[in-house]
């Protein structure tokens, strides 16, 4: 599961929707195994548009869960999306490595509201609920 996917994952329990703690899920850094896939090509235009759709605070939280506290506190802003300068490109390249090339292959994530734990195995997160929670 790509790092970017964590930005689109909340707890499946419907009752948690009334809480603000169901997103992002909390990742157990000691149990999460990360992998980087350098074969995924860098596409700056794609990434700029993806960033528009991303919740930056959730990126920061998950990165911190996984031991990365070096991200800027605010979402990077690009003055002119149609002509990205060198600095822009450097930022985008770093984000490409983090959001697109890095994935969690094994691990655990937990809802901060209900405490339910979900597992990631062989890169596949399982968000199904046991019958008593569904």
């Amino acid at each position: 599961m790509k790092f970017l996917t964590t930005n689109f994952l909340k707890c499946s329990v419907q009752a948690c929707d009334t809480s603000n703690d169901n997103f992002p899920l909390s990742y157990d850094g000691s149990k999460c195994q990360l992998e980087q896939d350098e074969s995924i090509e860098f596409n700056p235009e794609f990434l700029v548009n993806i960033l528009d759709r991303v919740e930056w605070s959730a990126i920061l939280q998950v990165a911190a869960d996984l031991g990365n506290t070096s991200l800027p506190p605010n979402k990077p802003i690009f003055e002119d999306k149609n002509s990205l300068n060198e600095d822009d490109m450097a930022i985008l390249r770093d984000l490409h490595i983090l959001l697109i090339q890095t994935s969690i292959v094994e691990g655990e994530m937990k809802c901060k509201n209900c405490g339910h734990t979900y597992y990631i195995k062989n890169s596949i997160p399982n968000l199904l609920l046991p019958p008593h929670l569904a």
């Binding site: 970017l4 996917t5 990434l47 548009n49 528009d52 399982n126 199904l128």
Partner: protein, 283 residues
């Protein structure tokens, strides 16, 4: 669990897990209207494919980020095996683990017809639309009742709630009997055209050689045929089981009605490959 949930567990979820790898082998060709819909999305937009199966639509447009989910762990495993770059997860279509009003688009291809009551089918469409931004669109496909010329031959006047068989052979690679028959008959033809190699045989001995050669070929072919028959018989005996999946066959206009009930507007609709489809927009 309600009756509807139990029925879906037995006749949808369990079956797809059992037939996953065989089913996945038959699902590789994207349908044109789905491809057009995906290619029409702008660079860097995000979407969901609800009930993505083996993920055949996840890489159609490389410039969008699509998250595919399916209730079947087996099918999601197939998807990941086909392309490890697919963004896939195991999730329930009525409990999608995404925030509301998030995605630019959604697709759900040949999925909604598996819910066993109309209330649940409408709820499923409503749930998909809840994840899409205002003005975002979802493309929904469901199997049609009107498919008289298809292999199954469903048509108007039949019960719309049907159990559809899937014949599962013990050895998936040998599952198609007709193809193994045709390969053995092709082999037979090859034998017919073969000629004995007469190099180094004296002309006076040739007639006897040819007779002996023919006899040996005959025996060899009889042996091969017996082996082939045994193999086929074994395949037929060996737990060639039939699994049944529940489907609600949509009749003309019904999917539009369900989308309207789910709170969407109708942008486009039509019929393709024995299915009705609707592009519905979130209000």
């Amino acid at each position: 669990m309600s009756d509807a949930q139990l029925k879906e567990q037995e006749y949808v979820h369990d079956v797809y897990n059992e037939i996953a790898s065989h089913f996945s082998e038959t699902r590789y060709k994207p349908w044109p209207i789905v491809t057009d819909f995906l290619m029409g999305q702008t660079m860097g937009s995000i979407g969901i494919d609800v009930g993505c199966g083996n993920g055949k639509y996840l890489a159609v447009n490389p410039n969008v980020f699509v998250i595919g989910s399916d209730r079947s762990e087996g099918l999601i495993g197939c998807a990941h095996g086909i392309n490890s770059h697919y963004n896939v997860m195991v999730a329930d279509g009525l409990h999608l683990p995404h925030k509301d009003n998030t995605f630019d688009f959604a697709i759900s291809i040949a999925v909604v017809h598996h819910w066993t009551t109309r209330e649940r089918r409408i709820a499923a469409i409503r749930h998909i639309l809840s994840k899409v931004k205002k003005g975002g669109r979802a493309l929904i496909y469901c199997w049609a009742l009107e498919q008289k010329d298809s292999r199954r031959g469903y048509h108007i006047g039949m019960d719309q709630d049907v159990m559809v068989p899937w014949v599962l052979h013990a050895t998936p690679s040998n599952s198609n009997n007709s193809s193994s028959n045709s390969s053995s008959s092709a082999k037979g033809k090859k034998h017919d055209h073969e000629k004995p190699d007469l190099t180094g045989i004296e002309p006076k001995d040739r007639a006897a050689f040819v007779t002996k050669w023919k006899q040996e070929r005959e025996e060899q072919r009889a042996r091969e045929k017996a082996e082939q028959d045994d193999l086929e018989k074994k395949n037929d005996d060996k737990e060639s089981t039939t699994k049944y999946r529940f489907y609600h066959l949509y009749k003309e206009g019904e999917l539009e009605e369900d989308c309207l009930q789910a709170g969407g507007s109708i942008v486009n609709h039509g019929y393709e490959k024995d299915n009705w489809y609707v592009i519905t927009e979130k209000q």
